[in-house]
Structure formats: C-alpha cells, structure tokens
Amino acid sequence: MAFNVTRRKFLQTASLAAVSIPLSKVVCAETGVTKASLEPKGTMHDTTVVGGLCEMCFWRCQMVGRVRDGQLIKLEGNPKSIDNGTSICARGNAGIKLLYDVDRLKYPLKNVGKRGEPVWKRISWQEALDECGSKLKAVVDQHGPQGICVFPHGASAKYPMHYFERTVGTHNVSEASFFQCRGVRDTAYMASINEAPEEFVDMANAKVIFLVGCHFGENIHVSHTKNYIKGLQNGAKLIVADPRYSASAAKSDIWVQIKPGTDTAYLLAIMNYLVKNKKYNQEFVTNHTAGFDKFSQSIAEWTLDKAAQECEIPAAQIKEVADLLAANAPNVTIHPGRFSSWHGNDFQRGRALACLTALLGAYYVKGGWLPPKRPKLNKTSWAAAEHGNEHNLNYSGDKMQHPYSPPGTPTELIRDCAISGKPYPIKGCVVWGQNPMQTIPNQEKMKQVFKAMDFVMCVDVMPTDVTMWADILLPEASYLERFDEIKVGAAYAKAGDTEPTQYIAPRYPMVEPQFERKDQVYITNEIAKRMGHEQDIPVQTLEELVNKTLEVSKTTLASIKAEGGIHLQPGKPAGTVPEDFMVLLFSDEIAAAGFPGAPTYIPVENVPAGHARLLFGRAPVHSFSRTQNNIWLHHAMPVNPVWLNDEVAAKLGLKEGDTVGLVNSEGVKSRTTTIVKVTPGIRKDCVYMYHGYGMVNPMLTIGSGQGVDEQSLITKIAIDPESGVHGMRNNFVKLTRDGKTLDMPA
C-alpha cells in the first residue's frame, strides 16, 4: 500500500489540524485504559484462589489457583483435599491453556452461511437469546415439546437439560456419558444390585484386582489411580483381561489376551467353575442373592474348554484366574469398568461382573465394592414434572423397546425419528457441551439429523466439530470461570485413620469470565423467559443454585470458601452388607421383559477376512476431543498412532513410524493419516487407537486434522438390546498406504 508521504512529513504538515479535527469527533470518549495511581515497578498482585474443581475430565479433582494480576498462572491440587490431595494430572495442569486458548468462543455468533459450512457473525447476547428463544418456541408451538432434542454433556449441561426435559417437556434427551459411555454399566448393575456401581471399589485394600478392559495409567483419574497404585504397593495381584498390552496389563500378574467381544463368555466360565467346584461364597449367596439355581443352570454350558475356544485363551489360564479370585475372596476388586459401550452385548457383561462380585462375596467388604457414605445435598433444579409416555420414543404402547435404558432416550431412536419424521417431527436441536460428531457413531447420520432441523443452537467453550452445525453458537464460561457443581465424597484423611472423613467441595471461579462468556443459569433462564417459562425459573444465579444445593449440609459458599474451598466433617464407616441388599443372579423381571434372566453371552460378528477390529480407548493426557486443541497436551501427545501387531506389520511391510490411513469395511476412509506403532502387545486381529483425534473444525488451529478421527470409521451401529446404548467396537478396518489398501493377513 502506498501512502504518498512519510509519517514524519505528515506530522509536520501545516494541514494536520484539518485532518485531526474530524477524527477527534468520532473518537470514542470512553477507553478501556484509565488513569490510576502510580505503582512501583514489579508489583505482581499475586493471590491464591481456593475452590477450584477440575473439569478437564469428569473426576473433579479439587484445586487452588495462583492468580497474578487477574491472570491464572498455575493450578495445583488443593492442600486441603483428602481426595486427590495436592496432585492433579497433566490435563488438570493444562486447564490454564484451555482458559486462555486463542480459539475459544468469546462472543455469541450467528451462522450466516450454511450448517456445516458456517460463516460466523458476532451478535449481541440480546439478539442471540431472542433468536434461540423464538426459534425454539416456534418448534414447540408447531410440533410440541417433543419436537426438540437435546444433546448435553458436562456439569454445566445439567441445568439446561432439566429445563428442556422437565419444564419444556421433551423426552428426547441423549447424554453421551450414558448412551455412548457408562450408561449400560449403570443399568446392568441397577438391574442386578439396585445401585449404579460408580467406581466404588476399594482397590487399596484388595488382595486381587480384576480389570476387564480397564486401562489405568492410560485412563487417569487421580484419586482412583492412587487407590489402584496403593493396592499394587500393598501386594494385590493384578489380573487384566485386554486384547492389548495396556498400561495396566504391563503391571499385571496375569494378562488375559482375550478376543474382543467375548468377555461375557469368559466371565461365565469363571463363574461356572466357581459354582461347579463350590468355590463361591455360599454364605453371601444364601443371604444376599436371588435366583442361584436358575443362574447356575443357565451358565452350566460354559466350561473352561468352551470359553477357552470362544475367547481364544488357554483354559488353564481361566482356571488360574478363577482360583486366584476364589482364594482371595472376599477381598477382591471386580472392577465394574466405566466406558462400556463396546459391542452391543454390554448389558450382559455388566450383569456378569455384578454376579461374579456376588459369588465372591465381594460387596461391602474391604478390597471389594465398598460405596462410601457421602454427605447429603439438596437437589436444586427445575421442578420435576410428569409428561406421560405418549411421545417417548422408547415406548411402543405400554412396552419399552429398551427397558434398561439410562435416563433420557436412546440416541438412535432420536436420530431415526429426526431423520424420518416418524412418529413425529423433531425440528429443534440444543447441543450443550457435547460434541455429537465425535461421541456418536456414524457421523453422516448425525449430519442428516442437523440438516433435518429448523433450528440448531450450540453452547460450548470451544469451537468443536459439532459447532459447525449451529445456527446460533453461544460462548460458555469454562469450569475455571464459574460457580458450579459440588463434589462430595468420603475418604481416610490420613494414614492410620480408622474412620473416614466426608468432604464437600463446590466449584468456585478461579478468575472472572473473559469476553462475553456466560454461565448456564443465565443462558437457560433467558431462553426460558423467551419461551414463556419465567414463572418456573428455580434460581436467578448459579451462586444461588449452589447455595440452595448446600443448604441441607448447613454450609454455604461463603463458609466453605473461608475453610479453604473444602468442608470436612466426620464420616461414617462404610459398614457391612445391608440386610436388604440383594444381587439378582437370575432376574425374573429381566426375563419377563423378554431378555435373558441370567447373564448370557451374545456373540458378536467375527472379523471379516482381510480386516482388523478397530478398538479405541483413552489417552493419559487427553480427554478425547475436548482437549485436542490444548497446546500443552497436544505437545505431549500430538497424534494417535495405530497399534499394529508386530508380525502383522512385518507381513505388511510396515515399520514403526510409517504413515498410514485407514478404511473401514463399509468403504469409509479416514480423512487424515497417522503413524504406526508396531508392538507384540496387541492381538493380530485388532488395531487400537486413542479416541478423540483428527477433529474437522479448522477453527481449532492446534487440534484440527491431527491424528485420525477413529470415530469417523465407526459407521456400523450396534445397539445393546436391553439398554439401547451404542456398541462401538464392531467396526473393521484395513490400513492404507501411498494410495494402496493393505489386506490384513489372517
């Protein structure tokens, strides 16, 4: 660009005033920089802020923050914590880089382009809320509340989810944490022991820890990992069933390199062996189980040899594991797992784990399943309301398709309805903190859902892949900038304690929200006002929500803050088995619903010739796609290598670090490539990848296109019949290199 004068000459011109006077009239009178008293050089304004509650994953470690001049410069474990203590993981530390991520959403945005190919324009909150409120109200007016579907995730999504579910009245809510993660585990245990198991296993005091698929070390939740490590330090034997030599398998005494999908057959054989050889806890079975005879008959076919053949493992090893468990019962941890949406036969695996725990008498004992007695809190939210089942997609008349569904409606039912318009139209979509493009299998189908909508709104902290499909995109305050949920628990505060201590740890903001980010109570209430529900609003602020929730504990945000961000109080011993505690080894109710009453193995599709089964799991420094744009975590693990058996690699002519793509059995190719990790530590018929990589949205300037999005290759949909939860490990792939597709050797 050419200006015909230099700066110096310009400032020397006599006509300068003639130019500057018109400028002076349009200069903004108010500035962001303002006069204040002078301060000496080096003044830092350092403070320590208590009450942080991490949300880089779901575990909620308690933290303190070091703040300098309003800027959060370091996160640490809260010294007062009896849960994670002063430790936080790599992700917890890197929360700062989420907070100050350049790509974070800052202002409400309106898509003036197409869904999926957005052109963004910054708009005011007033305009954004008016549009969300009016568009969603129009959907309800025209199609009824069932015309709205909601995909929520995370602490901040609970309040809006309750609004749409309870007050607006739609059943069409699908949480990824249930329908693509742990929901089937929870409902399997609910149907077996009448409680969700969470991760209430006393590994620190276990004599044997039995993990089916859990890969601690790669899957890190600080206090849980500490509990696990303490158990190993105390001499616990570790059994790991996993087709891959995981971080846990590497520490195991027995590694069971099981064929994927056959875990239930394996568990049935262990249980059958225990029953046949009377190595089960007869007292516990007599007093606290039901249906033992029918159960025993049902699993009788599962001999060691039959399971060995099905699971492709030695019969002697199954016996060795069963004997080890029996010899150390009841102080054994049968870990219920967490992510359990594996093969579409997962309800039965969950039932089998619950029943095995019962045969070993490992409920309410040291080293076994031992739920803590936690402090009670109020449940403050939108008032519950009954909306009938007429528009509940999980019902056909009075009968439920998936009677053991987690709360909400199975995702596939919502998607099919949205795309087909049958039995009714779904035309409004609210996505809150979830990234359905990378949590729900079959991305093309998800796109069809968004295309079928009249209106899509997304609320998030980052421009994740799903946000490309929004009409209105709202920027949310992150977990470091808002009050929020409360973590409660009980633990032994220090070595030698005989009684546990209870803790209550609400979330406090570490710093003020920047730009125009708002919290969930503000956003939801403003939308509710515009949809005609102002009179139903339960709280005016997030602070009020937390304080009301705390009321029963006789604490407040102010009182807990004065205590260092965590309230401690004397706890109650976990105790012995409650008299009425029952494990349904055979469930008449499940049988009456048309499903197997005793845990039953349902075989899954075998790997077709020339392919490998695609397995995936957690990376230690990432929480799936949520952390892909975090610069520190990206540097720690920038791509997700594909694990390939060394003998297979040799036959394919591949070596460590070679670049490959993937194509699945339905012809879907990975958009990007990754590198090969050659290892003897994986079965020949499988490949394995860390989940969450290869995001599409180029607005994520660090994470976009890094590694391979294995979710894009999960196009075959399996549905667990009892729960309606997705199974996502039934897809098969080949590798590609230099434009050629490589057949996997048999």
Partner: protein
C-alpha cells in the same frame, strides 16, 4: 520515534491513535456512520491512498449489506473465523502463543508504571484497541519517551506479525487500510528498517 514537529501537537497525535482504536472496534452503526466514514476517507485521501480509498468506497457501495459484510469480516479476522481466526488482535498470541500470557502481563505492568489501569469491563490489556488507546493517552500526556519505549518494546514486536496477516488475508479493503494506517502511525522511519509502508 521521531520528535514531534512544530506543526503537530500532542493532541493531534492523540486523536490519530484514538481514531485508529475506533477503527478497530466491532462494526456497529452506532458509531460507524457517515460522520465516521467522512473522517476516515479524509485521512486516507490526505495520505494519498486514492486507489485504495476508491476500492473501499466501492466495496461499501456494492455490498447489499455493507455493515453486515464488515461484521462478518471482523468476526472472521479477529474473533472466531472459519476456517480459522486469521489474526487475533492480542500481543500475547504472537509473543507467547497464548491469550493473556506473560507479554500481556508486561503490557499491563507498563500501563501501571505510567499511571494507568484497565477498566473492569475492558478487553485484555494487550488488545490492539487498548494499546492504541494507551498510546493516545501517552500522546495526550506528551510522554514522548514513554510512547517510544512502548512502541519499541511492547507494540511493534507483535504488530509487525499481525499487520501482514490481516493485510494478506482480509477479504475487505477496509481492514487492509486500517492495519496499514496503524502501521503508518506506529512505525519508526526507514532507518530502523521495519516500516512496511514505504512512502
């Protein structure tokens, strides 16, 4: 930084910085009105950038909704753009590869040393607008040494990365002109070797 001449006053330069800060605000008809554009084109014409001035006038004239076109471009360039934000207007992004990094703290510290702080509702201290506002205040205070130190140590190091990004990637000639005007008013002369607006 050259000394002020006998013809320019500190107040004049303060207005220039203040005007440039205004140009970088999110387009809004409340302030981006006829009076604003008159002042804008008056400056552009005085500097002899007639070709570029015409290009901007044409872009505004031929757009079905010139205000929305500028808003979309502002969002794409500076806030959250697709495929990705072109040039976040924060020093730390270029110096620390992060928002609100150590460079932002240094900037705030410099403000404090000169007796200025950030308003509660302001953007981050190292936002281009606030840095221009601060320069405007220094000019008004006739603190030439402070102005020079700020430009040399805290402004130019990142602005010379920011300016070409916008200049090359913007789809609207208005923003190309704005970043070049800022460059013009904040650059040292040739002897320092980094003025990209050679006259």
């Amino acid at each position: 930084m050259p000394p002020m001449s006998e013809t320019s006053t500190p107040q004049d330069l303060s207005f220039f910085y203040g005007f440039l800060a205004r140009c970088m605000q999110y387009p809004d008809p409340q302030w981006m009105n006829e009076e604003f554009f008159q002042a804008f084109f008056s400056l552009v014409d005085t500097l002899g950038a007639t070709v570029e001035g015409k290009e901007i006038r044409d872009a505004l004239k031929h757009s079905p909704d010139p205000m929305e076109a500028l808003q979309i471009e502002y969002t794409r360039l500076f806030i959250n753009g697709a495929p990705h934000v072109v040039a976040p207007p924060y020093a730390s992004v270029y110096m620390d590869k992060s928002l609100q990094g150590a460079f932002a703290l240094k900037t705030l510290s410099f403000y404090r040393e000169k007796g200025y702080v950030m308003e509660k509702d302001a953007d981050l201290p190292d936002h281009l607008i606030h840095e221009l506002e601060f320069l405007s205040l220094l000019a008004r205070d006739n603190d030439l040494a402070g102005e020079e130190e700020f430009l040399t140590t805290l402004f130019r190091p990142w602005y010379q990365q920011f300016c070409p990004r916008v200049g090359q990637e913007t789809r609207h000639p208005y923003y190309r002109m704005v970043v070049n005007l800022i460059d013009f008013f904040t650059s040292e002369e040739k002897k320092d070797g980094f003025q990209c607006n050679e006259a």
